[in-house]
């Protein structure tokens, strides 16, 4: 595949590994922010190729994992009790709510549909004028523009039976939350390339300055990740802290101005609750008052009781990189993808699931 296979070149990966080995002189702890990066590191077996000095910890950038329990409960409620057509990206479906997942709601008769594009949901709303259609708008800055566009689209087309249930979260406040956590020991970051494709680089300079940490905006393919790691390590070894862009073939410094305009138009920044982590100030998007009619939260008044998370799940510590998935006593035992205690075991972007599925964990399979 042109433009992909070049970044999956095993020889090039090995050259980067050798260069990392030559460069590193002491242990470093680096966080890859995005779940897609975690997935790629584990799926391609890249972690084993790194020298022991380089410790990668996996960040909070899994949108499915950080979507609060009560929002999933709300989506399930809307689908089951309010008879809405609930549309969602695929990997949200298996995430357990306090009672049910959306997949279980579907089995119980709810109309739950997997889509790749929120614009498809607007079309479903047009095709079903007598039904309410709700799109579960989950994700980071990457998916937010398309979800925002669906609202604009619905407004223009006069579709009034369409709304979105937003759980949009933002990367820079999450990096801040990781850095201010006293248990955190992160020394450098791989920032999420696709988020920066939209947002550009500007919001990362203050983080580099304030926390004196190297941040390298990286892609997701093996060569991207290895190059990104090398760039972080070179800075760390020299005692530098800068913002660098490894993913310059995709990320422009200014991001995507058109997409940002749409975001600005539709959303405003609010405090937001992150599952497993808690509320992070100014860390999420909500629809502006002007678009309240398209906000499922305001359209459907549903009192969903907040249910505490499983006490046995250490998702918050995993998402902040304080613990590795296999350091959880329940990993692969009480908590498996078939029977997850928390969201990181469900989504393929979740660190726990990535480790469970792809890492070389001989005992975990024994228990199956």
């Amino acid at each position: 595949m042109k433009f992909l296979s070049e970044y999956r070149d095993a020889d090039l990966v090995h050259q980067y590994v050798q260069e990392i080995q030559r460069t590193v002189t002491r242990p470093w702890t680096i966080m890859e922010v995005c779940g897609g990066q975690t997935h790629s590191l584990v799926k391609n077996g890249l972690l084993q190729l790194l020298p022991p000095e380089v410790r990668m910890v996996h960040g909070p950038g899994c949108p499915v994992c950080v979507t609060p329990l009560h929002l999933i409960d709300k989506a399930v409620y809307l689908a089951l009790e309010k008879g809405v057509i609930l549309c969602s990206y695929g990997d949200m479906l298996r995430v357990p709510g306090s009672q049910k997942s959306l997949l279980e709601a579907k089995a119980a008769g709810a109309d739950v549909r997997i889509l790749y594009s929120p614009l498809e949901a607007v079309k479903i709303a047009q095709d079903n004028p007598n039904k309410e259609v709700v799109f579960f708008a989950v994700g980071f800055e990457t998916t937010a523009p398309a979800n925002a566009l669906s609202v604009l689209h619905a407004q223009r087309a006069g579709v009034n039976n369409y709304s979105i249930l937003t759980s949009h979260v933002l990367v820079p406040p999450a990096i801040e939350a990781v850095m201010t956590d006293e248990d955190s020991h992160i020394q450098g970051f791989l920032a999420a390339g696709h988020v920066c494709t939209i947002m550009g680089l500007d919001e990362y300079y203050p983080l580099v300055e304030q926390y004196k940490i190297p941040i390298v905006v990286s892609g997701f393919e093996p060569v991207d990740l290895m190059q990104g790691i090398l760039m972080v390590i070179r800075q760390l070894e020299k005692g530098e802290h800068q913002l660098e862009n490894q993913y310059s073939r995709v990320v422009r410094p200014e991001g995507n101005p058109e997409a940002r305009k749409v975001l600005e138009r539709i959303f405003e920044i609010h405090d937001r609750e992150w599952r497993g982590i808690g509320t992070i100030p100014h860390s999420g998007y909500e629809l502006r008052e002007e678009f309240a009619a398209f906000d499922a939260n305001r359209k459907f008044e549903v009192a969903i009781e907040k249910v505490p998370e499983s006490a046995e799940c250490i998702a918050g510590l995993v998402l902040k990189g304080i613990k590795k998935p296999q350091e959880c006593p329940q990993f692969g035992k009480k908590c498996t993808p078939q029977n997850p205690l928390g969201a990181p075991m469900v989504s393929s972007e979740g660190a726990c699931a990535a480790y469970y599925h792809f890492a070389n964990l001989l005992e975990s399979v024994e228990t199956m």
Partner: protein
């Protein structure tokens, strides 16, 4: 006869009904009118023409294989085939995986009322085409119609019976460390073709399902390699990873896979990339794995590649005594990871 010629030669008869209704499954006059409309003519053979509840036939000496499967695919028409072809090929191939040549099939329809007769006819021609291609006779059948909303257009069950090749000795118990795993053609093609037309996920592609019978290829391999073929399996639902995990679990052996050896068509790999799917977990048709004695592996591979249905064959891995019950894949990057059994249907990722 190719599919197009068959459609031209078997036009749908003039009927005084254009949709199938509950009455067509009642067993009475309407059922007879449906069957007489051409169903019997299309599938015609000496045993079916008896029009009895069951078929009687003489069996040769030896071992017989017997298999059944139900087909509930949505949508029922997809690039490269339809549910009818799938229902014949699937059972023919299940028998082939026992080392048997399918001889007789049963065919049972569960139809949702309202199915247009034109669609039923097209499915029927798919059945005839696949049966002719595989050299198998449909000798008994059943038709039921359920109320609208209680089915999904049409469900089909087929069972099949066939003579096992005299040289075949296919059993999981014969699989041993060192055996090589050969896949007969690129994987994941069928699953991606289906996804490309599934509602809500439609995308434009030239990928067509590779559904086909595998009995002739299997027979030609057994003729030459006989006992060296330890196991055959078609990785349909759940994909290659499921079949290999079951094999590792049941034999209590480990499996080593080479990612770069696993054949996947470029278009299929590209679609999986876009859709966030792993080809190892995508359903297959028209593809099987053969577990063969190490010393015979290269010759089996060569023979397979000579056949039109095995041109894309490759040795993708081997059985080992280490890491029992685990499938371990060496990635293209040189790292190793465990390939687990999928939990349920693969769900596409957000980004």
């Amino acid at each position: 006869m190719d599919k197009m010629t068959m459609q031209l030669q078997c036009p749908m008869p003039q009927l005084d009904f254009d949709i199938i209704t509950l009455g067509h499954g009642s067993g009475g006059l309407l059922t007879n009118r449906l069957l007489d409309s051409g169903v019997f003519d299309v599938l015609k053979n000496d045993l079916l023409d008896e029009r009895h509840d069951g078929a009687q036939f003489v069996v040769e000496k030896g071992t017989m294989a017997f298999s059944t499967d139900s087909y509930v695919i949505s949508p029922i028409f997809f690039p490269g085939g339809n549910i009818g072809e799938l229902a014949v090929n699937g059972t023919v191939n299940d028998l082939a995986m026992c080392g048997a040549q399918a001889q007789y099939l049963s065919l049972a329809f569960i139809i949702e009322e309202g199915l247009p007769m034109t669609e039923f006819w097209e499915v029927l021609l798919g059945i005839k085409y696949a049966a002719d291609q595989a050299g198998v006779k449909i000798v008994t059948g059943d038709t039921k119609v359920v109320e609208r909303g209680k089915g999904d257009k049409i469900f089909i069950n087929t069972s099949g019976i066939g003579q096992v090749h005299p040289r075949a000795k296919i059993s999981k118990s014969r699989v041993q460390p060192g055996d090589k795993i050969i896949v007969s053609n690129p994987i994941a093609t069928h699953g991606v073709a289906i996804l490309s037309v599934r509602q809500g996920l439609e995308f434009e592609t030239s990928i067509a399902s590779d559904t086909t019978n595998l009995n002739e290829l299997v027979t030609s391999l057994l003729d030459i390699f006989g006992e060296d073929i330890h196991l055959l399996h078609d990785p349909t639902r759940g994909g290659l990873s499921t079949v290999l995990n079951e094999l590792a679990r049941d034999t209590r052996l480990g499996i080593d896979l080479e990612e770069k050896a696993i054949p996947v068509l470029d278009e299929v790999a590209g679609a999986c990339e876009l859709l966030g799917l792993d080809p190892l977990y995508v359903a297959n048709e028209g593809v099987f794995i053969a577990v063969v004695a190490a010393e015979a592996a290269d010759s089996v591979l060569e023979k397979m590649r000579e056949h039109t249905k095995g041109q894309g064959a490759a040795i993708i891995g081997s059985l080992c005594a280490e890491h029992p019950k685990q499938v371990v894949l060496k990635s293209k990057m040189g790292g190793r990871r465990v390939v687990n059994m999928p939990i349920g249907e693969q769900l596409p990722r957000i980004c």
